[in-house]
Symmetry: C2
Subunit: 220 residues, 2 copies
DNA sequence: CGAACGCCTTGATCCGGATCAAACCTAGGG
DNA sequence: CCCTAGGTTTGATCCGGATCAAGGCGTTCG
């Protein structure tokens, strides 16, 4: 179930510029979610499309037996929740305290019908998601644990515009469920990257990229 | 490099109906490719979008060290080669003798600009690809070898409209590179499914689904 | 018809990552 | 400030699938 919209706060200007900014920029609800709060659930009506204003979001699916696969992490400026069908195929949760913008799906398709640039923007959004998903497939299908962890760190750095020091908004379990690994393997891999001097781990949720080119080399 | 267009044969009416049929149905080149022939290569200009008329196509990427990940299999009616950027991100090859229809990317975007239904059809195509890719992620991230193979067989059956007996157009290596496994594991898994009576393997490229519901149960 | 190549299956062994099990932080709450 | 609980790290062991290595087909071509 969709969590109730709590407050219509002004949003921080952290989001990327996209072709949909005209829409998402319109006055409207800017709900906030606390850490681990559900934004929407798998199987619910997909009435809205979302954009992260601040914070970070995970979208995931769960198998019958409880195995979880995180589909994607979404950072400030990223869109999520756009579906082909009327139902959400994944669950979305805030990873940290998060603010999002929402637009009615109907409004979006009206806009797409009226304006070619909006239609193109929607295509771009979807195609970007597809590219990311294809990269994810390559990662899960043909990369070792170490390559996956390195790839994730670089990806987070890029998408949060971090330089060397980065804030990791997700738990080890989140990383594991994104990378198709276990928490133990993620943890061990991080410490071994630290032992090799490629990264430093000042705290659990902070990583310093000490040898970025070595990490990039692993990303093959 | 794009293989030369060989013959403009009439196409077989095997393709699905989609919103782009008006476009793809227009008179135009219908090139044929023999088994294992390249249709386009990674990094080439993405000037065309394709639709499989008959046969089957694989799209894949290769890592520096030669590891290959098959991104997707495409069957009659399926579209492929639509890119966000100007360059193909994957290589496409015919898995069997294959006929495809082609449309210029420019023509497609012109059409999308003029007609809302065409824009919607392009969105649908991309979003379907995204859904398939997300399912692929779930498969690679959180499923066992046995579940992956069962899932692939059911997927092929569905997409080729096969009932119980199906034609597998791909080699064991193709299956392995799609499923993130090795040929040995694929082979062993198929024989163990056969030993359990879930499938029969009259020949290497033919599979009979003998207990479809049991296979579906594995797909969790 | 027979040879030979390419794919597939099967067997033996190995290893990366999973699982099981403690200990160890560290942020919150009293 | 200490206590507690969850998340994290680390250790020991296990196992599913990879790797290494032969054999079996079909299939094509001489």
């Amino acid at each position: 179930m969709l969590s109730p919209i709590r407050t219509a706060k002004s949003f921080e200007p952290t989001a990327h510029v996209t072709g949909l900014d005209a829409v998402f920029g319109m006055p409207g609800a800017c709900p906030r979610f606390v850490r681990d709060e559900e934004i929407f659930g798998e199987g619910e009506a997909a009435d809205y499309v979302y954009q992260v204003v601040s914070g970070a979001v995970r979208t995931y699916r769960i198998l019958r037996d409880g195995r979880r696969q995180i589909d994607e992490f979404h950072f400030a400026g990223d869109h999520f929740g756009l579906e082909l069908s009327d139902l959400h195929r994944v669950t979305a949760e805030a990873m940290t305290d998060t603010t999002v913008r929402m637009i009615r799906r109907g409004a979006l398709s009206d806009l797409a019908a009226q304006r070619g640039d909006a239609a193109r923007a929607i295509f771009r959004l979807t195609a970007e998601g597809l590219q990311r998903s294809q990269d994810h497939v390559l990662m899960l299908g043909r990369r070792s644990a170490c390559e996956r962890v390195a790839g994730l760190l670089l990806d987070i750095a890029e998408r949060t515009h971090a330089k060397a020091e980065l804030d990791v908004p997700m738990s080890r379990q989140d990383m594991a469920d994104y990378l198709g690994l276990t928490i133990e393997t993620v943890s061990r891999t991080l410490t071994s990257l630290q032992d090799e001097g490629l990264i430093a781990l000042p705290t659990v949720r902070h990583v310093v990229l000490q040898d970025r080119s070595a990490l990039e080399r692993m990303t093959a």
